[in-house]
């Protein structure tokens, strides 16, 4: 729960007991082979794990590297979010909770939460900013089809950060039957740790797959996009004990690590985009899933340590990356995931990635949700 100076549990006293309840339940579950058995089975027979590791044949040839794509876009609901929600929903059920509470920005975590709730016969309440509801009406409809209640949040900037605040507020008043199913490696302890553990399946699988796919067994670079940072955290977890350079890629307009300052938001200490007065800034990126002014505390810590490096790419680079990957490999990835691709394209060009390198890149999700955005821009 604490990563150097980051992390912690900066929540109202009313939530302390609930956080502790989650922490104890998770420690207990994570040490229980039965829980792992349940979760592993759901991941396999329901979510479609292990996801494929796809050599990007044509792009590799063009770039003069070996590029491997970890295909979270193939997981059920279209992104890595399902790994986390299945874990948390099982945990909630084990705790005797009947309802999942979640925040969502672009709607991916909301859809995943609604999915897990439906699967396990629970109810789901998803908070979503009014502006995001307008921008992502399709995902709102998907959540409702899945039986979830979507609650519009009209306060503040009416986007993800306000949905997070509202979910926390709602949790305070419903700790008895409600379980807060957080969407990324954020929030008060134990969430950043718990979500990373539920997402480490990405890195663990990729590690095993790389061992058969690569002569060098482990890649030289491990690259993933970072908003809250859960797909990156899960991926890095599998390679932190290898010599691989771990690279997180932030959007230029939402780069908490590159442009943020230490601060406290939504229950944890991390790097946060904020003005000189300490008021939280809005993030702006073409990828709604990365539009968050903070970042998982472990990333802030890894950045300080130098164990992982964080770079930014522009919206224009991201659009170019989506198109290049589509035309070269037949994969329409999410705008979020395209941040990682964009960085690889640039890093090969400027020599940061030397010719002949092996690169593992996590494609966190599929691009179907972004087609309207892309259509408007083209």
């Amino acid at each position: 729960g604490r990563f150097g100076e980051y992390g912690g549990r900066f929540v109202p006293e009313s939530l302390i007991a609930a956080c502790e309840e989650v922490e104890h339940a998770f420690r207990d579950a994570w040490a229980d082979p039965l829980f792992h058995g349940q979760l592993d089975r759901l991941l396999a027979v329901y979510a479609g794990r292990p996801t494929a590791l796809t050599p990007a044949w044509r792009l590799s040839a063009e770039l003069g590297i070996t590029l491997l794509l970890k295909r979270e876009d193939l997981a059920h609901t279209g992104s890595h979010k399902i790994n986390n929600v299945l874990g948390q929903a099982l945990l909630a059920k084990r705790m005797g909770k009947q309802r999942l509470i979640a925040e969502t920005g672009a709607g991916q975590h909301g859809v995943a939460t609604a999915t897990a709730a439906a699967l396990l016969g629970m109810s789901a309440t998803v908070f979503m900013g009014e502006r995001d509801i307008e921008r992502q009406e399709l995902n709102v409809f998907r959540m409702r089809m899945l039986g979830a209640e979507v609650v519009p949040v009209g306060s503040g900037s009416r986007t993800l950060k306000d949905a997070c605040s509202e979910a926390l507020r709602h949790w305070v008043s419903s700790v008895e039957d409600g379980y807060y199913c957080l969407g990324s490696v954020m929030g008060p302890h134990p969430y950043p740790w718990l979500v990373r553990e539920f997402q480490r399946v990405i890195g663990d699988e990729a590690r095993t797959q790389c061992a058969t796919e690569l002569r060098t067994a482990t890649p030289d670079f491990v690259v993933a996009c970072v908003g809250g940072g859960s797909n990156a955290a899960g991926t890095f977890a599998g390679f932190v004990d290898t010599p691989a350079r771990l690279i997180g890629v932030e959007p230029e307009g939402g780069a908490a690590i590159n442009s943020g300052l230490p601060g406290i938001l939504h229950g944890f200490r991390t790097k946060v985009l904020q003005d000189e007065h300490g008021q939280i800034s809005e993030a702006h990126s073409i990828a709604a899933g990365l539009d968050y002014p903070g970042v998982g505390p472990e990333h802030a810590y890894l950045a300080d340590l130098g164990r992982a490096e964080y770079f930014t790419v522009s919206d224009a680079e991201v659009l170019d990356a989506v198109r290049r990957l589509a035309k070269a490999e037949g994969i329409l990835c999410a705008l979020e995931s395209a941040h990682a691709v964009a960085w690889v394209l640039r890093a090969v060009e400027d020599g940061e990635i030397p010719a002949g390198s092996t690169v593992l890149l996590t494609l966190s999700g599929r691009g179907d949700k972004d087609m309207h955005t892309l259509m408007e821009l083209s």
Partner: protein, 260 residues
């Protein structure tokens, strides 16, 4: 013992129930008029919110008040400057979120409070486990750091909170956010009683104390009440200082009736 706690203890000593009204700093141009009105109505201390962009423990009323203040360009420095011009007869307690407190470091934040004549501080998203550095800074600058206890707080934690709180203990009456309620939440009673058994610090009940009869009821088991959203609702609806004075005076009357 600093200014705030001295006052809360003395007031209790006198058999008077503590009345602590709240106002969001910078909500209007002449927002300090509300402070004077509160004082005139018989407040024993005044809580001043330093608005934050993401007030996670506040309900719609205080959220709206914070947004309005911020959109007027309100800053912490500006509020403190306004306060520094006053010479209030009652202790001032600021309430804000951790990010604003730590932005330039706890020490300089507490120093600035002191400079402005503030004697207490409430930071709802900084639970006792995380509070040590701020506690030290506050103590250094003579600021009483008030801690909150909730209905869900375990007896062990209550003891720790009671032990570390200064000025008074803030008993959160319900599991929820700030905001007006039709009835005073019942969950505050047990909490206040537990706290009273654990500490001789005054215990004030807040969250959902919306009407004179609520105040009276809470004062039967606690040393006083904090009234926030009910007042801020009136401010947001355009209430002038005089209106707020009248509103609060009714609370005062109800409290005094209990104490008699």
């Amino acid at each position: 013992m600093n200014a705030l706690e001295t006052r809360t203890r003395e007031t209790r000593q006198k058999g008077r129930k503590l009345l602590a009204p709240y106002v969001t700093g910078g909500i209007t141009d002449d927002w300090t008029d509300y402070l004077r009105a509160y004082q005139d109505a018989g407040a024993d201390l005044i809580e001043i919110g330093l608005p934050f962009s993401d007030p996670t423990l506040d309900g719609p009323t205080v959220q709206q008040a914070s947004d309005r203040a911020l959109s007027r360009g309100t800053t912490v420095d500006g509020i403190l400057a306004d306060l520094a011009k006053l010479d209030p007869a009652v202790p001032l307690v600021t309430m804000t979120y951790a990010n604003l407190v730590l932005r330039n470091g706890a020490d300089s934040f507490c120093a600035a409070l002191r400079e402005a004549g503030v004697s207490g501080l409430i930071v709802p998203d900084m639970p006792v486990d995380e509070v040590a550095p701020l506690s030290e800074a506050a103590a250094r600058h003579g600021i009483d750091l008030v801690l909150l206890a909730a209905p869900s707080t375990t007896p062990d934690r209550l003891r720790v909170i009671a032990g570390h709180s200064r000025g008074f203990v803030y008993a959160v009456s319900l599991m929820g956010t700030t905001g007006e309620k039709r009835d005073l939440p019942e969950s505050g009673r047990a909490l206040a009683r537990s706290l009273t058994e654990l500490t001789d610090l005054p215990v004030l009940v807040g969250f959902g104390v919306s009407r004179p009869d609520h105040a009276a009821e809470a004062a039967r088991y606690a040393d006083g009440v904090i009234v926030g959203s009910a007042l801020m609702r009136k401010v947001l609806d355009g209430g002038r200082a005089e209106d707020l004075r009248a509103e609060l005076a009714d609370m005062r009357t109800a409290l005094d009736a209990i104490a008699d």
